[in-house]
């Protein structure tokens, strides 16, 4: 009899919940009982509320148990695990868990099923099919395919990826670059991290295709330093892809070259903005550059550069493998592909949800999220990261797509959804938005650098009821100046959480 395969995720959140200790204990428990198992550290499925989610391979599929704490392991074995087991944590077949089964996994198709570092697993589940196809296509044909797919950047600005690539392709230069923006600084977001930790070859493949599409032979992944697990996975994945000739001077004997380097940020939120990121990659302070020129024309070291988010580049593999139409047919209007959101904060069932566009915020938070973790009523939801609006209950029926959120004065951004219960003090949240801007401002323009510091002071005065009317006017003017006079969205959008908090939750400001 061959060894039973047991899976324990290696993802950062699973590990933060004790997955390493659970894995060790399962190995020791099996050994002690003379049971032969093969332990695989798979990627997470993003159902973080069930982590550590342990799975066993059986003839009728993978049986899941979760969330498994270290203390649960002996009991698991006693109930028959890893064989047929009747245990309170048993969830049945993993693909029968409704929270997962009801999703439509396009980008996160392989997450959790594979060992993230196994190229065999990757190719067995359709990996490198897109690159193989791209190797036989002209650059223009690849760019056309991406244009037709309707893919929009997933980093926040939703710019059409194909058009960006066309600019880079059309700009003559002896050297061009592909840069993956893996700075994922928004609170409440972890989709990039999950993709990189659970399916890193998807990103590597996407970047390689991008290189072929625009004529770039060098690429960089700029990863934030706050992701140490992710760093280890990417280092190893790049090494393995290079060794197997999926990266390098002569990819699979095609004569085409692409090499990839991992770079680590240094704790600056602003380096997620693409021009600041490029300056940082050049070894400088991460100051925002004036645009134009666009990075697509003058990017890294002044050369034409594709800068794309992790999820945008990940989607490229699917688009090339299955065709533009396949991707485009998921989605509606200007929102193509799937909706990827992250349920975070005070939520009972937090994690990564990938579904067709069309669901409302309420459906997500109440349905998938199951309400708050604290059991108290939801009071405010921040969508789109620290620069996104705080939405009161009257706005939760908004459909989650790029247009609908903009229409109500918010933004979808990178898809972070942070839930707050009724103990939240919205004046403190507004104050924090200003404080965060002050801490993370690159310092290049006054409205942002100085305005944010003033903003904190003014909110404190309003809360303390000093010259209330006057200070409310000062705050409004300040927001107006930041909105209109900032060079980038850091200063420009900080008023969004501040104003939405003030508008919808005036009582918290002492009104």
């Amino acid at each position: 009899m061959s060894a039973l395969k047991v899976f324990v995720p290696r993802d950062a959140t699973a590990c933060a919940l004790g997955a390493d200790a659970v894995a060790d204990s399962i190995l020791a428990g099996a050994k002690g009982r003379g049971i032969e198992i093969e332990l695989v550290r798979n990627g997470s499925r993003g159902a973080f509320w069930l982590e550590p989610l342990v799975e066993v391979e059986t003839e009728s599929g993978r049986m899941a148990f979760g969330p498994v704490a270290l203390a649960d392991v002996p009991g698991l074995f006693e109930s028959g695990f890893p064989g047929p087991a009747d245990h309170a944590l048993g969830l049945g077949p993993v693909d029968g868990i409704d929270w997962l089964a009801s999703q439509q996994r396009l980008t996160f198709y392989r997450s959790g099923w594979t060992d993230p570092l196994s190229l065999d697993d990757y190719t067995r589940m359709g990996g490198y099919k897109g690159l193989k196809r791209a190797l036989d296509l002209s650059s223009q044909a690849i760019v056309d395919e991406v244009k037709e797919s309707g893919l929009r950047g997933r980093g926040g600005a939703a710019f059409p990826t194909g058009i960006k690539w066309q600019t880079v392709l059309d700009t003559p230069a002896e050297q061009k670059y592909i840069v993956c923006n893996a700075d994922e600084g928004d609170s409440g977001t972890f989709a990039d991290r999950l993709l990189m930790e659970s399916d890193p070859f998807q990103l590597i493949e996407g970047m390689t295709i991008a290189g072929l599409a625009v004529g770039a032979t060098e690429g960089f992944i700029y990863l934030r330093s706050e992701y140490p697990h992710c760093r280890r996975v990417l280092e190893e994945a790049i090494a393995r892809a290079s060794q197997a000739n999926w990266l390098g001077e002569d990819i699979q004997g095609s004569g085409k070259a692409f090499k990839l380097e991992l770079r680590i940020g240094a704790g600056a939120y602003i380096c997620g903005e693409e021009t600041s990121l490029l300056d940082s990659l050049e070894g400088k302070r991460g100051l925002i550059r004036f645009k134009p020129p666009l990075p697509a024309i003058e990017g890294l070291l002044g050369k034409p550069t594709v800068v794309n988010n992790v999820l945008s580049l990940g989607a490229i593999s699917t688009i090339l493998a299955e065709g533009a139409g396949y991707y485009r047919d998921f989605g509606t209007g200007r929102s193509r592909g799937t909706l990827t959101v992250q349920l975070a904060g005070n939520v009972r069932r937090g994690g990564l949800v990938e579904i067709p566009f069309g669901a409302t915020l309420r459906e997500l938070v109440e349905g998938y999220g199951g309400g708050t973790a604290s059991g108290r009523p939801v009071r405010a939801i921040q969508v789109g990261g620290p620069l996104g609006a705080y939405l009161p209950e009257s706005q939760w029926d908004v459909t989650l797509n790029y247009g609908a959120l903009t229409d109500i004065g918010g933004m979808l951004g990178h898809g972070g959804i942070v839930v707050f219960d009724d103990t939240v003090d919205m004046a403190q949240q507004a104050r924090f938005a200003m404080e965060f801007c002050a801490v993370e401002s690159c310092g290049k323009c006054t409205p942002c650098r100085v305005g944010s510091v003033r903003g904190v002071e003014v909110i404190d005065r309003i809360v303390a009821n000093q010259d209330r009317e006057f200070n409310l006017k000062v705050l409004d003017d300040l927001c107006e100046t930041m909105d209109k006079g900032s060079l980038c969205a850091m200063g420009g959008l900080t008023p969004m959480p501040v104003r939405s908090a003030l508008k919808h939750f005036p009582a918290d400001f002492g009104a």
């Binding site: 975070a344 937090g350 620290p386």
Partner: protein
């Protein structure tokens, strides 16, 4: 020349050699120096300037810009508390007060015995299981005041 100056020179040289020829080599070099020493000593700045053909001001500017680079040694364990929104929603403000009290230090400070340095961090990507704390390279989820104390107790018990 004393021995620590010699070894600093060696560390700088090996960091420079490791990343030789890379685009924007200063950042990876600073990371390497900090990984070895726990901080970027001010005496390394002129050495780096010379090796990388950059001005001291430029290097100082980069070190000052990024939150990660430190110019004085950190404690044995670097503790980073997430202060961002998802963690706030799960009580990180209280955790922050508690942690400062328990360790007797503020953000940016190191305990007198040199064991712990406390720092703020803005999101660790663990936002579905907040509040999050990073200790060295390990991340901890759903940290309560009680489990924070346990983590510190465990580290204090280690010798």
């Amino acid at each position: 020349m004393n021995s620590s100056a010699v070894s600093l020179r060696e560390i700088v040289d090996s960091a420079v050699a490791e990343h030789h020829g890379k685009i924007g080599t200063l950042m990876p070099v600073l990371h390497s120096v900090q990984e070895k020493l726990g901080f970027v000593p001010s005496e390394s700045v002129p050495m780096l300037a010379q090796s990388l053909n950059l001005s001291r001001a430029e290097i100082q500017g980069v070190i000052g810009f990024y939150h990660d680079f430190r110019t004085s040694p950190a404690g044995e364990h670097l503790i980073q508390l997430c202060r961002a929104e998802a963690c706030q929603a799960m009580g990180s403000r209280d955790l922050e007060l508690h942690a400062k009290q328990r360790l007797g230090i503020d953000f940016g400070e190191t305990t007198e015995d040199g064991r712990f340095t406390l720092e703020p961090v803005y999101c660790l990507g663990n936002c579905a299981c907040a509040p999050s704390v990073r200790i060295n390279d390990g991340i901890h989820a759903r940290v309560s005041t009680g489990s924070f104390d346990q983590l510190i107790d465990d580290l204090e018990a280690q010798e």
